[in-house]
């Protein structure tokens, strides 16, 4: 049965979308403060426009229903779906005013890419962009990565009626703590601790290497946020290659891995249960996955003359496997090198790493290790069943936070999302190919967009066709919402449209 949205539903959806947009507007005060601090007055004005327009639009939307309106679970799903677009529209305003984007669409692309922690970018002349604008670009990773709703929740802004359903709709329904509010706070606590640690480590490195305190500190913060939130933006056009430093790469590798850990896993480890990391199906799947793909990338690279030495295999191969598998997308190669310089096997390994993705309940994207693990267990169970006598009952157990039994429902749920991801990966690749790009590169870029990674073969550029920009934006959006939320939004819109037509007849 399809449930139609009533006028009251739509009003509630409008109200809570407005709350989130206004929240994004308030968060723009942070880059504005940075701009004031740095004396970048032209940029300050850009953020003044951003804050007022976002808060204004948000407050206007909020008028659609009184504060504290109840939000049902299915409506919450629609709010989170729409919120990514609405928040991106708001977040794109100051970026579009920066003068570093060819059009508002390009700025919107970056805002959505930032919020979905993808990291694909259409920015121009990034090396001359102001630090305050870079602050905002990287903050979108932090806001979107921790979850727009989690962000709003923890700052406790007017979500009274809809907090719990919104929180669950955002795809973090595994509860870290019995109380939703506490869960949101714990996510921020882990994030704050890791971001502080990373920023201290990297700013020490930057300052020792000769950067000024302000630049070094801000660059360190940017890199930390972009890696811990598995985003992939960088403040310079060369991305991670700008630093030419194995120490930088090592620290960011740790941050990427920490960012791809399930927040529940963080919680268990911080409770003193280190064994969880070893027995958890997700951790095991991810570790095996990264191990096998590192093996593949090493085999691939060592066959090329260019990247054949062991130090090169580690710094170009393993680095990009972790960057891809965690969904980060930091890059120490030039985009055009992917297609020509690294060889076929390494290229394929990186595509697979992106496609699989990190852990659930983290900022990583892709199919996710939990689903891959469940599917593998399901396959093994089927084989065991076929070999056992018909009367035997085969049960498979796995450990994910608690001891769990594999059910057909779990396996089919995982397979469903798996199939949706694969279909989207391939469709996006075909669309890219239809625009005239080589199939391999188009597939790489499509996977990167859908899995919210951000590695690029160079297709993503301000000169790319507008249609393809929109396709990648849809892919980033769909990938971040893991499809079901997106379908809910589309279905509701479709139903509303159909009913209108029926009434008109």
């Amino acid at each position: 049965m399809w449930v139609n949205r009533t006028r009251t539903d739509i009003k509630a959806i409008g109200h809570y979308t407005g709350v989130l947009v206004a929240g994004i507007g308030l968060l723009m005060l942070l880059p504005m403060v940075v701009a004031v601090f740095l004396g970048e007055w032209a940029v300050t004005l850009d953020y003044l426009c951003g804050v007022t327009i976002a808060v204004g639009a948000g407050r206007l939307l909020m008028l659609s229903a009184p504060a504290g309106t109840r939000l049902s679970h299915s409506n919450a799903l629609i709010v989170t779906g729409i919120a990514w677009l609405a928040a991106s529209l708001a977040a794109a305003v100051p970026l579009a005013l920066s003068g570093n984007y060819g059009s508002f669409l390009d700025a919107l692309f970056d805002a959505l890419s930032g919020l979905t922690t993808s990291g694909l970018t259409l920015v121009q002349d990034l090396d001359h962009m102001s630090l305050a604008h870079n602050m905002w670009r990287h903050l979108t990773h932090l806001i979107g990565g921790q979850g727009i709703v989690v962000a709003a929740l923890s700052f406790a802004i007017g979500l009274r009626g809809g907090a719990v359903s919104l929180y669950q709709a955002e795809g973090r329904d595994e509860r870290i703590m019995p109380n939703v509010m506490h869960g949101a706070r714990f996510i921020w606590f882990v994030t704050a601790v890791w971001v502080t640690l990373g920023t201290i480590a990297l700013s020490t490195l930057n300052i020792v290497r000769g950067m000024t305190v302000v630049r070094g500190g801000l660059h360190a913060f940017f890199a930390t946020v972009a890696t811990f939130d598995t985003g992939g933006f960088g403040p310079m056009s060369q991305n991670a290659l700008y630093y030419h430093s194995p120490v930088f790469e090592f620290i960011t590798l740790l941050l990427m891995l920490a960012g791809t850990l399930n927040f529940n896993l963080h919680a268990d480890i911080w409770r003193g249960d280190r064994g969880e990391l070893m027995s958890n199906i997700e951790a095991r799947t991810l570790a095996i996955n990264m191990g096998l793909l590192s093996l593949a990338v090493a085999l691939g690279l060592s066959a090329t003359k260019l990247f054949g030495s062991s130090w090169e295999v580690v710094r170009k191969g393993v680095y990009h496997i972790v960057s891809a598998n965690s969904g980060t997308g930091h890059q120490t190669l030039y985009a055009s090198q992917w297609a020509t310089d690294v060889g076929g096997l390494a290229f394929a390994a990186v595509v697979l790493a992106m496609a699989f993705g990190g852990m659930a309940s983290s900022t990583a994207g892709g199919i996710k290790a939990l689903r891959v693990g469940v599917i593998v267990k399901g396959v093994i169970q089927k084989v065991r069943q076929s070999l056992a006598p018909p009367s035997a009952v085969i049960r498979t157990k796995y450990h994910h936070l608690t001891e769990q039994t594999l059910t057909d429902e779990l396996v089919s749920g995982a397979l469903l999302v798996f199939v949706l991801y694969v279909v989207t990966y391939i469709s996006g690749g075909l669309i890219g190919a239809a625009y005239g790009y080589p199939m391999a590169s188009a597939l790489f870029e499509s996977v990167s967009a859908t899995a919210n990674v951000g590695l690029s073969t160079g297709i993503t550029s301000p000169m790319m066709p507008t249609g393809l920009k929109i396709v990648y934006m849809l892919q980033m959006w769909a990938g971040r919402l893991e499809f079901i939320t997106l379908f809910a939004v589309i279905a509701s819109a479709g139903l509303a449209f159909r009913n209108k037509k029926v009434r008109a007849l």
Binding site: A42, C49, H128, S245, R315, K316
Partner: protein, 165 residues
Amino acid sequence: MRRIAATLALIVVIALPASAAAAPLSATQILDQRAKLDGQQVALIGEAIGDVLHADEGDVWLNVLSDGTALGVYLPAEMADAVHVLGDYRHAGDIVLVTGEYRRACDQHGGDMDIHATALEVVAPGSVTERPIEFWKFGLAGFGLVLTGASVLYARYKRRVTDGA
């Protein structure tokens, strides 16, 4: 403006006959011809950007930008002293002419693409970039302010009406 000036400087230098052994190339040209140029002596012209980053034993990294591509240059620290202005939001960096060995995937530096410089020359000094305030944006901010104010006031008015009723 800044970009035009940089391009002009570029054209002037490229047009200068026999200024270096090889004709100076932009970073994008070098990247595009990476297979052919690997291991060769090249001359790169572009804007010094960002920071001079210390590497090891008196050597530093300098990133040079031209045509939208930035390329890492590895050079002795004293050679980098010639660079005074580094490109960022407030500055157009010095235009430098770097000569040295181009490595498509440097074995010494973990496969980074770089140029090991043997000479660096500043061909055009950098400058301060003016970032004037664009006044039309005040209109936009004003519009947002009015929107916010009106929405907040209307919400307050509505609440008072419903509370009163």
